[in-house]
Symmetry: C4
Amino acid sequence: MSKGRLEAFSDGVIAIIITIMVLELKVPHGDRWRDLVPLVPVFLSYVLSFIYVGIYWNNHHHMLHTCTHVTGAMLWANLHLLFWLSLFPFTTWWMGENHFTADPTALYGVVLLMAAMAYLLLQQTIIRSQGPDSFLKEAVGRDWKGKLSTLLYVVAIGVSFFSPKVAQVILLIAALIWLIPDRRIEKRLAVE
Amino acid sequence: MSKGRLEAFSDGVIAIIITIMVLELKVPHGDRWRDLVPLVPVFLSYVLSFIYVGIYWNNHHHMLHTCTHVTGAMLWANLHLLFWLSLFPFTTWWMGENHFTADPTALYGVVLLMAAMAYLLLQQTIIRSQGPDSFLKEAVGRDWKGKLSTLLYVVAIGVSFFSPKVAQVILLIAALIWLIPDRRIEKRLAVE
Amino acid sequence: MSKGRLEAFSDGVIAIIITIMVLELKVPHGDRWRDLVPLVPVFLSYVLSFIYVGIYWNNHHHMLHTCTHVTGAMLWANLHLLFWLSLFPFTTWWMGENHFTADPTALYGVVLLMAAMAYLLLQQTIIRSQGPDSFLKEAVGRDWKGKLSTLLYVVAIGVSFFSPKVAQVILLIAALIWLIPDRRIEKRLAVE
Amino acid sequence: MSKGRLEAFSDGVIAIIITIMVLELKVPHGDRWRDLVPLVPVFLSYVLSFIYVGIYWNNHHHMLHTCTHVTGAMLWANLHLLFWLSLFPFTTWWMGENHFTADPTALYGVVLLMAAMAYLLLQQTIIRSQGPDSFLKEAVGRDWKGKLSTLLYVVAIGVSFFSPKVAQVILLIAALIWLIPDRRIEKRLAVE
């Protein structure tokens, strides 16, 4: 089984998710700058989700790169990840429409957490398929980014009930740590 | 004729189908957990359809894998399958919006049945194009999953008029039998 | 310049066009079979357009197959074709919503005609890029299907103002002649 | 890292952007030609944006063609470009719905300007990754089209507050200069 279609299908689904999120930026009735003001929270929540979906695409791209063949278990673990990603537009819109209040912020965090779990599951499935000398296992190493961001999602969910603002800052930080260039997989490839 | 574009186009259409189904999860007006309650049936029906579309993509991926060239008849048999799959969002939404009542459940089953027929037709078209020593024919074998799930769709359609709940359980079982790892095609490939 | 991305981009756009057309099948409020009755014209017009978009994808697939390199002129001729195809959902919905009355039927025919012209223009652009011994030119031959269907679109547009029903039958026939297996390009390939 | 998925993902996102823009052509209630008249401004603004997205796809296609490997910085610079392109449907609809008045025209220009900046940033990122003998750097040369169109966007934004009509003509001219065949990259390739 080649990985070409797994990548193509994932690219398609992620491309659609990242693009339809913008549809909640509904065209306002007026034609003045001030008519755009009510859209600001929806826009901000779109920006945050765009970054998150971008991170997932980016990591998915790197992870699959280490993969030479595809198993049935990987197909399903991948679909499971796409399922949680497909809920991003909904949670983005609910949070944006409600100006970042408690419950929508918590749900946003829960779906991020589930997607992180699904990503981890896919990673484990690939590592298992690669056997004891798994290239991906070595490349991932101790996976501090994966662990730290998962911890931050859990903290953000808890905090959101007391202070949604603080929870959003935590979720933003959890995104930004992924923007730090990560050369683990690239380095391992260079060593080969 | 290469199969690259047939796969790419099918991936695109299936990726869009699986993703737009989530659009019926309309953002509620309130910002509390309880405001999500009316969305539960739509969500459940989304989950069921996500699994079904995932199964079709998965099987399509395996089936096309055995294929080395593409004929005009295959292009049309494939479009015919995509047509029935494209009706999944509509039947999913109608069933979810109406809390799984009789007629929407029956229609959901009918479209599943038509998609199964279309899949079988595509399978036969590929087998015919491969001649007497068809690799796919051998790999598919007696196709108990295909036959059993088709039977279950027919039963579910009939049952839905008496007890939609039972019909939905049958449709769920018909989905789950596809999640049992199926190594027929992978096995045949290993033998080669 | 390789043709890979031209095909991938066209596949993406055509996949989206063929799939979003189904969105006009709006979920009815009731949950009985009779609630689906008002959707029948929209459904029929969806089926017709699905066939037409399928034909375009099919022909596009064959035509590009004869192509080894891509020029700037071809990129724009292709985008021009995609522009007219992108209007299919609108004309499909307008015709379906209005139960196949005169003006929507005429507009449907006009957009079909413009797409046919754009397809012809793309074909000529490719033939010109292939020089005097153009493979595509020989394969296309006298192009009776292209000429006949263009003629039928023109006739259907004229007829639609007197009898939309007859116009629709003509448009259906124009679609069906493309379903007749056409082995011109496949034959030319076999000769090589 | 190969560029295949970067191209595939970008193609997917751009294909969706170019296609969903047509969704704002909402089906009118009446079935006469005159019922289409209110849609004319939305249609015109769709045509302008279709050309612009087409230009971006075209240029992206050429630019990536000169690229042999992909770095992490390129992935993010590319996502940044896609972010601004993803706002095209919104600005197109706002401008079309409001019959090309001042503020929507200015915003349309601002998003075009940001996309141009993002494109330039991606170009610089690729040139830097190619080292001192960058193929792309030589091919791009003095980049008069890039510079002139950026200047025209800035002028159009300023002018839009006094005369939106003149601003739109400037934006149209900025689009048309990209339709002039540009053989820089093709020429450089031929030299190799």
